[in-house]
């Protein structure tokens, strides 16, 4: 064995011992990491340096030097692993220095929410869309024809009284007063005036009535109304559609009950209840489109028939989310909004 090889092996052994001591002395991860770089660093670590040293050994002894180097390398790696395991297994009280605390709160990207009424409207829209109803939009400022006359609400009807509606000041159309729509049925009239049957739509949006604000009233609220007109549309179709709608919405089998009622724009008119937790829950109003309404939009009531129904969005939303005061929807306190 040449002197050079002897020296090389000595150096290797010293390195192995130094590394082992250093790794064993490490009290925290940062120390160990510093030692790892010192001995095992890929660029300037002692091992790397000694690996280059193989070049100085005689050619016929290179094989032996290589073997020894690999042994030492494995030994160093082993003692590093041992030290690493040791530090990893230290109990919390034995650890020293700054430590990573994974229980700190995550950095949240802020996220906003759609208004609860929007969430309800969107869900109702989606549910009706699956049943083939398309969304129709219309203006909020309306004439009396669309808000009343075409809906079979005659001039003498109490619903037309100025105290029951927001008529607009100094704004008329061809001498006729205009008002903020008091119902979304106006949209149904506008759609029927433009289209021939079949018609299958829902109209929705804000409506306005001079109600004094209290827990269940607000001068602005939202309606969603469905309309289906075609040849041969019957009250059985109405009942079936409402059952499918309620069942889809609630995800369970729901039954529908009709109670007679009165609305100028439908005949027969009914209040709709759905079965709910062993009792009946009011859903809204419905009925077969009054022949006068069909005539008003140029349809022949002997040719086509139709049904219509209306639901109050606020009422549904209040029940779904246990909201007790309608006014909280319009106060828009973000603490309230963040609960949805």
């Amino acid at each position: 064995m040449s002197e050079a090889l002897d020296q090389y092996i000595n150096d290797l052994q010293t390195l192995a011992e130094d590394a082992k001591k250093a790794f064993e002395s490490a009290k925290q991860k940062e120390d160990l990491e510093a030692h790892r770089v010192e001995f095992m660093g890929a660029k300037n670590g002692h091992l790397k340096r000694l690996q280059k040293g193989i070049g100085k050994v005689e050619k016929d002894e290179k094989r032996a030097a290589g073997q020894k180097f690999n042994e030492v390398k494995q030994a160093v790696e082993q003692s590093f692993q041992t030290a690493q395991d040791r530090l990893a297994n230290l109990s919390a009280s034995e650890q020293v220095g700054p430590r990573f605390d994974p229980t700190l709160p995550g950095t949240k990207r802020p996220i906003g929410r759609n208004h609860p009424l929007t969430q309800t409207v969107e869900e109702l829209k989606r549910t009706m869309a699956r049943l083939g109803f398309e969304v129709a939009h219309g203006p909020e400022i309306e004439d009396e024809w669309h808000n009343f006359d075409a809906l079979n609400i005659p001039a003498s009807h109490p619903a037309r009284h100025p105290d029951e509606n927001f008529y607009l000041a100094n704004l008329t159309q061809k001498g006729h007063p205009l008002l903020w729509r008091s119902q979304t049925s106006t949209v149904q009239i506008r759609v029927m005036e433009k289209r021939t049957p079949p018609v299958r739509i829902i109209s929705l949006g804000r409506v306005y009535r001079p109600d004094k604000p209290d827990a269940t009233h607000f001068p602005m609220f939202h309606q969603i109304e469905g309309l289906m007109v075609d040849r041969g549309v019957t009250m059985a179709h109405l009942k079936t559609t409402l059952r499918l709608f309620a069942t889809s919405l609630l995800g369970e089998d729901v039954h529908i009950r009709f109670r007679p009622s009165f609305f100028p724009f439908t005949e027969p008119s009914v209040e709709v209840d759905m079965s709910w937790q062993g009792g009946w829950l009011e859903m809204g109003g419905a009925g077969m489109v009054d022949p006068n309404v069909l005539k008003a939009v140029g349809y022949d009531p002997d040719e086509v028939s139709g049904f219509a129904f209306g639901l109050g969005v606020e009422r549904i939303c209040m029940r779904r989310h246990n909201v007790e005061d309608i006014r909280s929807f319009f106060e828009n306190d973000v603490r309230f909004l963040h609960q949805f």
């Binding site: 398309e134 003498s156 109670r259 106060e331």
Partner: protein, 670 residues
């Protein structure tokens, strides 16, 4: 309408339980609200829809019960014995306002003894919630609650000239009503006057002058019909609703007017004594029989979806008092009774059949044909808008569409025209239809600040109302945001929104001034040449006006241009497989040179290899000449044909540097 169980029993046999009765009535149109025990009686509260004034009396409800349970109605005879002189000798009636009062009947009873009512009468009224006044007044109320026809008893001796004149009021005429309030009468009211002055408001309330008192001995009993619209207006104008006006507003039974008068006199003679004058004064229109209605049997199934046997149809209609004049295989002809003014058409009869036959017989599991329904473009675009805004931390609010005039004036980026007003105040002093959502959002921000909410990032999507002179107003949908962050974060949110909608039309801003906003940090937003929005930070004064504790940034954009420009079905282009090459440039320019000019110059001159251009930072220092700033930016080049060479990139860089130098006086900083 509160019904007494015991009272109802006088007219129809009640063999069923109370619960059964309530349930059947609910399911046939008289919705049961609640029932309350009163002594040995039950007060049953039923909701009567506006089309059924016939059920505003016990007899009407009895008719419904009879139809539902196949019973007979026992109608009191109402045949008072008239032994006095002819009524024409004692009183006279004239209708001058025929449009307000179509018919007026009067009977006279002499020598009555006014006093307390018998117990049975007091009990009946107590069950339905009425206090006893005296026997005469109680009887008029009793008959009203029996048949639905309101009645009024006058002290005949207090009527000047023993005369009733139904007319409009004279100028400045006033009346002291029996509630001791004095009312100003206006021209469209229907007044009951005597020979001298107003002595009652027809169908609404009597006057104190002719009120029946303990010393009254001679009575004039009014049973009449007043115009519903006029009654309603009078009630609203005077703020004076009454049980009588409630019924007249809905219409009374024209053939029941005389019956009610006779019934009232019958009870007065029985309870308060006196002598009934013979005959009746009956002026105005006599009731007409209703027009016959044809009901085609197949129409029933066509509307209800189920057939109802013809025999059953006839039975139902008959039990409701509708007389069948003719019938064959195909159809029947029916005439409704006078108390059912709501029945005029075939559809009305179909509803009668349906509600008695039972809506529970209509199935809820028929086949409904399928139909396509696609999402509207508005909804598709708004879905993206909402997801971008909520994804960026904005909460949606819904605020009222009316604001105060002052709020409306405070910010109006879309219209110079005066806002539309409602005739009535909407809520808390607001009656102005908003032209922008921004004032409402600032108010909402302030309310949230007031309750110490730390993070207040708001948006709303709603119509605004832009007046167009005499034309109908425009109602564009606005998307508005209000943020506590700065101008650029808000601008970035809008840019993100445009990205999400794949809008390729160039986005730019131009400074413009607005009340509420900081003069410098306030811009119009443009897509191409179209101004589609505004953006800005509140000025000190603006923040103060809305009592904000710190600067807010607002943005309002119109939905319509987004609908036009949104690319909801983008087409892909193939990606270059070659690596990009980036260069940083640090241009020194005059303060007046804006980023947009630099950007445009680079985009126009960097050649086809330009892929992206990124602003990095703006830098000002004493080392720069006065009035200058440096703008650091990164340009990325890429080719789809091959890996870029150093020469290609150098050449493109030189081109853009030269152009910026020439056009903007920009120099590269070493």
């Amino acid at each position: 309408m509160i019904i007494s169980w015991n009272w109802l029993k006088q007219y129809v046999a009640l063999d069923m339980s109370r619960e059964t009765l309530e349930d059947r009535l609910t399911m046939s149109g008289l919705n049961h609200e609640e029932s309350e025990q009163k002594a040995d009686d039950w007060a049953i509260d039923l909701e009567v829809t506006n089309n059924r004034p016939d059920c505003l009396g016990h007899l009407g409800v009895a008719r419904e019960v009879a139809a539902l349970f196949d019973q007979e109605v026992k109608l009191p005879k109402a045949e008072p014995k008239a032994s006095g002189p002819p009524v024409e000798k004692l009183a006279a009636v004239e209708i001058k306002a025929k449009d307000l009062c179509s018919r007026y009947t009067a009977r006279v009873i002499q020598g009555v003894k006014v006093g307390p009512s018998p117990d049975w009468l007091v009990d009946r009224l107590a069950t339905v919630g009425l206090n006893s006044v005296n026997n005469i007044v109680d009887i008029t109320n009793y008959v009203m609650l029996e048949c639905g026809q309101p009645l009024h008893a006058f002290d005949l001796d207090q009527l000047a000239d023993n005369k009733i004149i139904v007319r409009r009021p004279l100028k400045d005429e006033k009346l002291e009503a029996i509630n001791h309030n004095v009312y100003d009468l206006t021209s469209e009211m229907c007044i009951i006057a005597d020979g001298k002055q107003a002595t009652g408001i027809g169908g609404v309330m009597g006057g104190i002058q002719s009120e029946v008192t303990d010393v009254t001995v001679n009575l004039l009993i009014e049973s009449a019909e007043f115009d519903p619209v006029s009654i309603r207006q009078t009630v609203l104008d005077l703020g004076l609703p009454s049980d009588a006006s409630y019924r007249f507003e809905r219409g009374v039974d024209s053939q029941g007017i005389d019956w009610a008068s006779r019934r009232c006199c019958e009870l007065i003679l029985e309870i308060a004594g006196g002598t009934l004058a013979s005959g009746v004064i009956d002026v105005g229109e006599q009731p007409k029989e209703a027009e016959p209605i044809t009901l085609r049997f197949p129409q029933i199934e066509r509307i209800l979806g189920i057939p109802v046997p013809a025999g059953e149809v006839e039975r139902i209609l008959s039990t409701l008092g509708i007389s069948i004049r003719e019938s064959n295989e195909e159809e029947l002809v029916a005439v409704p009774p006078s108390f059912r003014n709501d029945l005029t058409r075939e559809a009305d009869l179909i509803e009668e059949v349906a509600r008695i036959y039972g809506y529970d017989k209509i199935p809820e599991d028929v086949i409904v044909p399928m139909a396509p329904s696609s999402q509207t473009r508005i909804d598709r675009v708004l879905e993206v808008v909402r997801s971008v805004l909520t994804g960026n931390g904005f909460d949606e609010v819904l605020t009222h569409s009316a604001v105060t005039e002052k709020q409306n004036e405070s910010f109006s980026p879309w219209s110079e025209e005066a806002p539309i007003q409602t005739l009535q105040t909407v809520i808390q002093g607001t009656n102005s239809l908003r032209r922008s959502l921004v004032p409402s959002l600032l108010l909402t921000r302030q309310k949230n600040e007031a309750v110490s909410n730390p993070r207040i990032e708001l948006f709303e999507i709603a119509h605004v109302y832009l007046p167009q002179g005499k034309e109908l107003p425009l109602e564009p949908i606005m998307i508005s945001c209000c943020s506590g962050e700065d101008f650029f974060l808000m601008k970035g949110t809008i840019e993100t929104l445009l990205d999400a909608l794949q809008i390729s039309k160039p986005f730019s801003v131009k400074q413009e001034k607005h009340t509420l906003l900081d003069d410098e940090k306030s811009v119009g937003l443009y897509l191409g040449e179209t101004r589609f929005g505004v953006l800005g930070e509140t000025s000190r004064a603006g923040g103060k006006q809305y009592k904000l504790s710190k600067t807010a940034t607002i943005a309002e954009i119109q939905l319509d241009p987004l609908l036009v420009e949104a690319n909801l079905q983008p087409l892909v282009t193939s990606l270059s497989i070659y690596p990009p090459s980036s260069r940083d440039f640090n241009f020194v320019v005059e303060e007046a040179v804006q980023w947009s000019a630099l950007k445009q110059c680079i985009e126009e001159n960097a050649g086809p290899l330009l892929e992206t251009l990124h602003f990095q930072e703006i830098y000002r220092s004493k080392q720069l000449d006065e009035g200058k700033k440096s703008m650091l930016l990164t340009v990325q080049f890429r080719s789809s044909e091959g890996t870029l060479t150093g020469e290609q990139v150098d050449q493109a860089s030189e081109q853009l540097v030269t152009a910026c130098q020439k056009q903007l006086g920009a120099t590269l900083r070493g």
